[in-house]
Symmetry: C2
Subunit: 392 residues, 2 copies
């Protein structure tokens, strides 16, 4: 990266069911939180990058960039919406980093927002299938739980991954989320409860699935020059994006996500670091199986060993690679367009040492993986609180 | 701009009602046309930037970046969708320019696509209102024709702009579009026909309004180093974006678009050029009144004189500032997410001298204005076939 970029402010709303609040309320609150956290002024913001998956269907509203800029009092700065399904806001983040690297801007607010509860349940499910292939998947009745159920069944068949191992992902993330005041679900669950919860799409039960959520998140990104004047900047070492087929049937294998592997490889190349150098990770657990696959695709464990890795307790807060230390999508909630930035906000706080009871001791280098759809988009970002060096 | 960016290939599909073709067919064709035009290979493309306004509602499909990349055979490169209502693809173009300037990529395909005819008429109208304010405008029954009718009435009241002058915008653009093989409507119309066509929203009649259209457009953007090896690169001198309130009632005035003025000022500042240096312009004539206002906001004439400027014949192909020389949104058609790139494709061909019977003699410097919604987003881009210098 030619010009260094840093995160200097983060914020997100309480995630959950906000019946009394609109998308504009939520996005404005998240922006204000991030701005206050950065110690910068609204006048310093030169551009607004907003991730949103489907406000056009959830609330009938497009043109989200302008909407958010107006209500945040940021007019007339450029304001743009980015969409890559559930990876929408990581893509906004990536493009904001590029814009600062280019020299075009020095201070950008990158945000993500989604208001999902205004639609009835089945309409929300149909809207979410916009992230998959309408012609080849939605048209034959597939839902997103269905897509990931196919992936889960295949992973079980090829590698012997068990239902219990998947359940342990949800158990870990709920355990972490208890400590997160902004999480949607703040209670612990057991493997037995996961297995006995309502079947959604065999083998995935309700507690394998991230919820329908309203929420917004924002970060403030600045150039190196400005970052040096502010407290505890967190550096963006790399942010890489890759793409795969929209429909599952066009892929050579269902047991991994090629977009994740391509993006991770690029990130490791760009930084000279490897998975062994990561102290804390946010990974996309939209469904429990996806966290297991992410652990493999990111190189935290061997291919096929993700289930065992979880079962061996290696993702807990004080273990080998603390994953989703604030609750993940499962417990914090998954307002689809906001998740990517929420992950980066929590990762930033881990690297700043500001996570209170959720803090991972000695977290200097962190990684976030945000996935769109069933893996047609993957964005891998690596952040650090200084100059990250390979550990061995 | 630190690192120069050039357009080296352009293409767009026939615009119109493509009942037999899908969004993926159209976007793939546009990309292939632009790539062939550039003499580059698909393997050279490092990222895909796609503008689309509302495929989520028009065809139930989100995740347009991945969709387009897959069908174009471009996997696994990063692929992102940009949305800013009808300015979606100009925003994609702008971000692609920034990405090349940053050094992250050297070759990007920037595209735009929209498939609008799959929805019934009133559903399409409702979908388009996603570009305005759902809570404050759509909820009380306003349509986009209604929003621009309010703007037109105010412009008439304040400046004495006449119905006939507005009609002349459509007459000019249809006259130009006759020569464009890819235009949706290839016939001349008269002022009398415009005035007598069906009333849509007083004072705007059917022939003041751009149509519902299917279509896709693409351009290939490259770094200076690569551009130097290719034929006749067209340089991006500047691309600027600004934002205004989503709803009309929050604006100080209805007779101009502040976002256009802010973006234009920035473009003129960045280039050291003024409106007098522009040889050819593409401006956003979604409704006839908008072209009149654009002429004023871009500085081609004094505020309030846009109607007279058109009446005096100053926008025709051989006049002071040839505008919408290939037909504009009115005659070429307005597949909302594709329009911004279509404008830039036609502008590029004018600056290359490749417009055949539509060619403007001696066109060296050109400007495009793409507007989102009722002016909440404006993107002004200036291109040139060499080093543009002020004319006087």
């Amino acid at each position: 990266m030619t010009r260094r970029v840093a995160v200097v402010g983060v914020g997100y709303t309480k995630f959950g069911e906000h019946w009394e609040r609109s998308l504009r309320d939520l996005s404005t609150e998240a922006g204000a939180l991030a701005l206050a956290d950065s110690k910068l002024d609204g006048k310093d913001i030169q551009a607004l990058y907003v991730g949103n998956m489907s406000a056009g269907r959830f609330i009938g509203q497009g043109h989200l960039g302008a909407l958010a800029a107006e209500y945040a009092g940021l007019l007339p700065i450029p304001a743009t919406r980015f969409e890559a399904a559930c990876a929408s806001s990581a893509v906004a983040f990536k493009n904001a980093c590029i814009a600062i690297q280019s020299g075009k801007y020095d201070v950008i607010m990158a945000a993500g927002a989604e208001k999902m509860t205004d639609l009835m349940g089945t309409d929300a499910i149909a809207t979410l299938m916009g992230a998959g292939d309408q012609e080849w998947e939605a048209s034959v009745g597939l839902t997103f739980a269905g897509l990931y159920a196919l992936i889960a069944r295949r992973h079980m068949a090829v590698y012997g991954t068990t239902r219990e191992q998947m359940a342990m992902v949800s158990v870990n993330n709920h355990k972490n989320g208890v400590l997160n005041e902004r999480a949607q679900f703040r209670y612990e669950i057991t493997v037995e409860q996961v297995l006995k919860s309502a079947m959604i799409s065999d083998p995935l039960t309700l507690l394998d699935c991230s919820p329908i959520t309203d929420g917004a998140a924002a970060v403030i990104l600045v150039s190196e020059e400005i970052a040096r004047k502010l407290d505890n900047p967190i550096w963006v070492l790399s942010t890489s994006q890759a793409t795969d087929t929209l429909a599952l049937h066009n892929r050579a294998s269902l047991t991994g996500l090629n977009a994740t592997r391509v993006a991770a490889r690029k990130t490791y190349q760009e930084t000279g670091l490897s998975s062994r150098d990561i102290d804390v990770a946010e990974v996309h657990d939209c469904f429990s199986i996806n966290e297991i696959i992410a652990l493999e695709d990111l190189g935290f464990c061997e291919k096929g060993q993700g289930g065992k890795f979880v079962e061996d307790g290696k993702i807990s807060r004080d273990s080998e690679i603390p994953v989703n230390t604030t609750g993940g999508l499962k417990s914090v909630g998954h307002p689809v367009g906001a998740t990517g930035i929420r992950q980066l906000a929590d990762l930033t706080n881990q690297l700043r040492g500001r996570c209170g009871p959720m803090q991972v001791t000695g977290a200097n280098t962190g990684l976030a993986l945000n996935i769109g759809g069933s893996g047609a988009t993957a964005v891998v970002s690596m952040l650090a609180n200084g100059d990250a060096k390979p550990k061995r």
